[in-house]
């Protein structure tokens, strides 16, 4: 009798222990901020930051790019085979997967999603990279667990593109809200927050067989003001800040050193470029300056990138070597180095083009004083600092730089429609690793060829060479060969400097110590890429009313 009571007590104790362990590892609501209102909840059209966050948390794709290893891994597809010509891909799908509303996931859903994606009227940034040529996709459903997709032309880096394609349900009546992701949208209060609840039918399990995600819910508060975001993080009202600015990083690090994380160089670049459009409404002598390689390289040499990293970013940045950041392990050309400051060298380069210094004013061959304006978007403190630092640097070689800050729509109009600008300073956010996603930047005929878009034929021999190399890497199937081509592109860009790359800022984030399993990385989304494995140790009881 006593032994039975003893066994019962032991069982009870171990149950309590297990339950408490489980409780510690599950439950809780993770809260962080969105910078703006999500523009859409349609996963195929979600291309602004906030919509993409909601999409990432509520949907799943066939193949997932592991943000930490930068390698692809199976997700909804257990295996796949890309044909040798890069034109088709066959998937074996995971069995037993259910949508959040209980309907089973089969190859029909994949077919439905791909057909919707390849609709020419969709205009989605996730669909366009698949359209390497006109023509329709051919979809063959062999059985509910395998599917073959055939594209009209080879698609570069086919498998990585699937990371951005969320699988939609063909049968479910709410095909836009029945998702395969770890969470589902439960509540949306416009202007305030989006509440996501745990998807009970989520197919992923942890190593011990426990269903993921550990968290009960995720609350995304819509907060535009960065300073208020920091305040709420300090108060414990939010547990995550996905991207932190350098100033705020240092302020937080002073009081909460365990909460801040610096994941090294990010994939983002800050760069400036000169307007090389032939029909631009700027004086001809300025067009001649901007078209001169020596002029561009001299300007690049006169800029003190080390000071920019130290002063504008408080040291949380590195001088940029070229169009890719070293964080992109595979594709970055290791032979490239950031341009060192060299005022004497810059003046020598300018002298070969006929420029001369006349009483601290640089003049060209015809005596025009070198003066030009640089436009940048207003409201970005760091970028404004970069512009003023550049203004000071260039004054040392006699160039008078006018810094003009404009609101974003005016800026876009000038650089894309009217071409009424001389130089521009902007930052580029890279979400993808593969250079094929940048085809529309490097092809001279493309819209985003910022310094001279939509050319009928390449204006310069080096742009023609870049066109050739980009097309070659897009049609090659062996990644090593593609890297060789793209390394050459990077070298040409470094030599010709159509974009003068300034810095690669670091991926800074803040994560409350209450959040476990977090592993911040440089690739977006930096802090919650593994949201299904995150858990909180103490529930958020200190949440005070929102101001």
């Amino acid at each position: 009798m006593k032994s039975r009571i003893f066994i019962a007590l032991v069982l009870l104790a171990s149950c309590c222990f297990l339950v408490s362990r489980a409780a510690a590892q599950s439950g809780g609501e993770l809260r962080f901020s969105l910078k703006s209102e999500p523009k859409t909840f349609d996963p195929l059209l979600a291309d602004d930051d906030s919509s993409e966050t909601v999409r990432y948390l509520t949907s799943a794709s066939l193949i997932r790019l592991n943000r930490q290893t930068q390698m692809v891994q199976p997700e909804l597809a257990t295996s796949w085979k890309v044909s040798s010509n890069g034109q088709s891909i066959a998937f074996e799908l995971r069995k037993g997967v259910l949508f959040s509303d209980g309907t089973p996931f089969t190859a029909d859903d994949v077919a439905f999603t791909m057909r919707k994606l390849m609709d020419p009227n969709l205009h989605s940034p996730f669909a366009d990279p698949f359209r390497s040529a006109t023509g329709n996709i051919k979809i063959t459903v062999k059985n509910p667990a395998s599917i073959l997709l055939q594209f009209p032309a080879p698609v570069a880096d086919l498998e990585q593109l699937f990371d951005g394609v969320p699988m939609l349900s063909a049968k479910s009546p709410h095909s836009d809200t029945a998702g395969l992701g770890p969470f589902i949208v439960a509540e949306y209060k416009a202007g305030s927050y989006v509440l996501l609840k745990r998807n009970a039918n989520y197919w992923k399990r942890d190593a011990g067989g426990r269903p993921l995600p550990y968290l009960d819910s995720v609350r995304l508060d819509i907060q535009q003001n960065r300073d208020l975001e920091i305040l709420r993080f300090r108060r414990g009202e939010t547990q995550l800040i996905n991207t932190l600015e350098a100033d705020n990083y240092d302020r937080l690090a002073a009081d909460m050193p365990a909460a801040v994380h610096d994941a090294g160089p990010s994939f983002d670049t800050e760069q400036m470029w000169f307007n090389q459009v032939a029909s631009a409404p700027i004086p001809d002598y300025k067009k001649a300056w901007f078209r001169s390689q020596n002029f561009r390289r001299a300007v690049s040499q006169a800029i003190n990138r080390a000071d920019m990293c130290r002063i504008a970013f408080n040291g949380h940045a590195r001088p940029a070597a070229g169009l890719l950041s070293p964080a992109n392990h595979f594709w970055f050309n290791q032979n490239l180095h950031a341009e060192e400051i060299d005022v004497a060298g810059a003046l020598k380069r300018l002298a070969t083009d006929g420029f001369h210094l006349d009483k601290n004013v640089l003049r060209d061959r015809d005596g025009h004083a070198v003066e030009f304006s640089i436009i940048t978007n207003a409201g970005n403190k760091v970028r404004e600092r970069l512009a003023v630092l550049m203004q000071d640097d260039l004054s040392k070689i006699g160039i008078h730089l006018n810094v003009v800050t404009l609101d974003f729509p005016s800026l876009i109009e000038r650089i894309s429609h009217s071409f009424n600008y001389e130089a521009c300073l902007l930052g580029l956010v890279n979400v993808d690793l593969d250079p094929s996603t940048q085809m529309n930047v490097w092809l001279s005929s493309a819209d985003n060829h910022a310094w001279n878009p939509e050319q009928k034929s390449p204006a310069t021999p080096w742009e023609a060479e870049i066109d050739r190399l980009m097309r070659a890497q897009a049609s090659a199937t062996d990644n090593k060969k593609r890297k060789e081509y793209f390394d050459q592109v990077q070298q040409i860009v470094a030599d010709q400097a159509p974009f003068i790359y300034l810095v690669n800022k670091n991926a800074l984030s803040a994560i409350s110590p209450n959040v476990h399993n977090a592993a911040p990385v440089a690739l977006r989304p930096q802090t919650y890429w593994n949201i299904d494995s995150l858990y909180l140790t103490s529930t958020n009881t200190s949440a005070s009313a929102r101001p």
């Binding site: 300073d227 003066e371 203004q391 003009v404």
Partner: protein
């Protein structure tokens, strides 16, 4: 003159002298970046420390005052004159003119003038000098800022028009022009004065807010407006209280102006 007023006069004269002779008083050029000491605390070398790019804050305050102290009162004068004309005439003439003027005032209060300012900026060449762009900005602010007091002035003018002494003056045959100048406008002076004095800081701040859209003063020229915007980060201000210097100086100057000039009318009446 009482003690307070004397002190105010002295402060104003000292400020204006320092600002006018900024070239001699300022320890460093306002654009010079002391890159080894960004965000420095006050010291012998930098009386108010340095800003985030290492530029001497005291020098920037002096030069910024020059721009704002010259242009904001000029813009305020412009808006007060327009308000006096439109409001005064509307109240004095009454009838259809008054209705039209009041409708124009109401529309002027409701329309999104921001877009007009953006359009003007777009029409200006990109390489316009910072001084030219800020002068144009203040001129526009002056031309658009009359509406807030237009109605009050119209009300006042109407009340005077209907008052006894004006009826008496009219019956005596005094010309309307003389009536307007000698009787009506002086009676509107208190409201016009309020318009003028409140407009100065309002325009200074408006110039700062327009900086968000690329109007206003261009770098590296400082202005009180963009110095004030640095206050938006409260934790930083708490940690470095010397950053409050611009707003303290602005409040002091504005208060001094009022103490010196507004007292006079009490003795005049």
């Amino acid at each position: 003159m009482n003690r307070v007023r004397r002190l105010a006069v002295i402060l104003l004269i000292a400020t204006f002298t320092a600002v006018l002779f900024a070239d001699f008083v300022a320890p460093a050029p306002y654009a010079k970046q002391f890159r080894e000491a960004p965000n420095a605390a006050p010291s012998g070398k930098h009386l108010l420390g340095t800003d985030d790019l290492g530029r001497d804050s005291f020098s920037r305050l002096l030069y910024g005052s020059r721009v704002s102290l010259l242009l904001a009162p000029a813009a305020a004068l412009l808006s007060t004159l327009i308000a006096a004309c439109i409001g005064g005439l509307a109240g004095y003439l009454g009838g259809r003119f008054e209705r039209l003027a009041l409708a124009a005032t109401d529309l002027s209060l409701s329309l999104p003038w921001l877009f007009l300012l953006l359009t003007v900026r777009a029409l200006l060449p990109l390489n316009v000098s910072p001084l030219a762009s800020v002068t144009i900005t203040f001129a526009l602010l002056g031309a658009l800022g009359w509406s807030s007091s237009g109605r009050i002035i119209c009300s006042g003018a109407r009340a005077i028009r209907q008052s006894d002494f004006v009826l008496q003056a009219q019956s005596l045959g005094i010309s309307p022009y003389r009536l307007l100048l000698r009787q009506i406008l002086p009676n509107l002076e208190p409201v016009l004065a309020a318009q003028f004095w409140t407009s100065i800081p309002i325009f200074i701040i408006a110039e700062a807010n327009l900086g968000i859209l690329g109007l206003g003063v261009a770098e590296p020229l400082p202005s009180w407006g963009n110095l004030l915007r640095g206050l938006e980060n409260w934790p930083e201000v708490k940690a470095s209280p010397w950053k409050l210097a611009p707003i303290l100086m602005l409040v002091a100057v504005v208060s001094c102006f009022q103490l010196v000039f507004q007292k006079r009318e009490e003795f005049a009446s």
